[in-house]
Symmetry: C2
Subunit: 343 residues, 2 copies
DNA sequence: GACCGAGCTTACAGCGCTGTAAAATTAGTG
DNA sequence: CACTAATTTTACAGCGCTGTAAGCTCGGTC
């Protein structure tokens, strides 16, 4: 089966290549008869346009890259899904780029465009610093995700982490919790996500006129549930007492649940747990996690909207968009749960 | 910042385009002096090759498509990760194509190649029938994943589901379970995965000289944990008794755990549960799931190996490769657990 | 010192499509 | 029916790169 080219169709239909091209693209100024003749030749030969050639001619690839640390992290895989769906609706296809939090891989992301692979990039950086993004980004259309401090040259979409964390604390306080811990400070984490969430946590305590106890801020040595479980286990073993726990993300919360269970601590009776990201992992944890839920659909739609504007030629200063979030209440920190020591 | 072309570099370096191209590609027969001169021009101008043009000239895209039903299903997101990593090692990039189990989307997958988008396709079909794959596939290099009955024209990678299910049953029997149920028949599921797993389950019971009770085969109305939970809840409510449960996948198992907990049934004491796919979701379920673990790394590596052979020109008959699996033992069906009624 | 072959380098024709501008056709007008 | 305006169709030059085949160098050989 030989490759069928536009020229072949043109020859069979007895018209010029450009007319065939016009038919393929549903260009309006084509007489019905022409259209019929050409369409017949297309069907007969089974013509499929060669996208690579089209791209070379137009300079548009119809693709965008989504660069995330790990595709199998529940938050990112769910986000990928929404971005892929939205992109597809807008006529774009998505290349998923796994950076594995590797600085070199992150830098490479911004090269994809220069190299003609994609029209734009949606990028959730983990290691890359603001300055570096600014330096490398130049004229590549980029929309950044996540909470790093971002350069003014790129667009940026995020939720209000500080407010969200405050809401989480307020919920726990409202349920009578008095010693609320924060889980998830990771050394070497340069993203700022954790910082903002921690900040909101502290602000929430201040709002509730509760003391800040540095001992209630728990560190984890790596971004895995295993390490999270270890951190919580260690804290319990060393006698740190808390009745509420806000976690940096659902994976950490999952590890925490495991450690609490191991230690015979009941959730939510003894400790109420709030996760972050509202992923399937948390939805089916035991007990199911109350979680701060970024509106992932809105996040995806907003990111694509901004990116397409940039691809379309917008060159203005970077825009910052806050998308909405909610607190999804489940059993790990329910409403109206009995508390051991209400006061 | 204007686009820098090969020709620009050639001009600055005072050599031909082809020589620049040779330097870019590390072609061996280039004198050191030439190479230096050209490299300097490349650095000076910041030249980046245009991949689209390269593709048009060579006919190779350096991309493969991975077509899966849902990117945020834990099994598929984990598999995607390994495929992306392995592909990257081999110099390929991956386009993840979400079919959402949509027949039209599945058919479109096989067009990607014809359209010059990718060099080959790794495809996990859900709706598409064997015959249809054979008809559409023609000369597109395709490697199929999953357990559908597959045409002889395409390569195929899977684990031995029948044997794996038998092993799951044997494990439960060895732990003293006597009424073992199977969860996960979904009406309209044409993939054959479930069939094979069910077959292995039945074979396992026969091996153990245990009766086959059709009432112990539980149907689920959709591929979600929610529906799985409902199915198990209904079964319990209608008085179906079982002390062991093999689930079609970890998501179903997760839903089952939830329903069992809801009903006050203890796992593993009252019912031992075995999942399938060994995903993070099951790893952090409560209790953590014993699960049949396909070797996803090997699966990814094998699929890519076969695909690259086809891309490289192999046109032989379809090959079937079985990759290894194991039974990962965790608390939901541990070794040496106390059983209510040992006999 | 003319000749040979191996090693380098070059010119140029595509790869398949689209944008542009010009050519051909049709419709409209007095 | 000639003439202009509007519409449809065409020819062709790129898009940026690579493969091919031919051309050039240069050290070695008799």
């Amino acid at each position: 089966m030989k490759k069928v080219r536009l020229a072949d169709v043109a020859e069979v239909a007895g018209v010029s290549m450009k007319t065939v091209s016009n038919v393929v693209h549903d260009y309006p100024h084509v007489t019905p008869e022409m259209r019929r003749k050409v369409q017949q030749a297309i069907d007969e030969l089974g013509y499929k346009p060669n996208l690579t050639a089209r791209r070379l001619a137009t300079g548009k690839t119809g693709m965008i890259a989504l660069a995330i640390p790990e595709i199998d992290h529940p938050y990112f895989s769910e986000l990928s899904r929404y971005i892929a769906e939205e992109a597809s609706r807008l006529g774009y296809r998505v290349i998923v780029e796994q950076t594995l939090s590797n600085p070199a891989a992150e830098r490479a992301v911004l090269n994809d465009r220069e190299t003609g692979l994609v029209d734009g990039v949606i990028f959730h950086p983990v290691r890359m610093q603001s300055m570096e993004v600014a330096r490398l980004q130049r004229d590549v259309p980029v929309v950044l995700l996540g909470e790093s401090t971002m350069p003014l040259t790129a667009d940026h979409v995020m939720i209000d982490n500080v407010v969200a964390a405050q809401e989480g604390v307020r919920h726990l306080v409202g349920e009578g919790r008095r010693r609320i811990a924060f889980l998830g400070v990771v050394s070497g984490d340069t993203t700022g996500s954790t910082d903002q969430r921690l900040l909101g946590y502290q602000q929430g305590l201040v709002d509730a006129k509760m003391p800040l106890d540095p001992g209630l801020v728990l560190s984890v040595s790596d971004f895995t549930p295993e390490e999270s479980a270890r951190a919580v286990g260690d804290a319990l073993a060393s006698g740190i007492a808390f009745d509420g726990l806000i976690c940096r993300d659902d994976r950490f919360a999952t590890g925490a649940l495991s450690a609490l269970r191991q230690a015979g601590v009941q959730v939510p009776r003894d400790v109420a747990v709030v996760g972050w990201d509202d992923t399937e992992l948390g939805r089916w944890a035991s007990p199911p996690l109350t979680s701060i839920a970024p509106d992932k659909r809105e996040l995806a739609a907003t990111a694509l909207e901004l990116l397409l504007e940039r691809i379309g030629g917008y060159h203005g200063v970077g825009r910052h968009r806050i998308v909405s979030h909610a607190l999804t209440i489940r059993e790990s920190a329910p409403l109206g749960a009995p508390v051991l020591q209400p006061n």
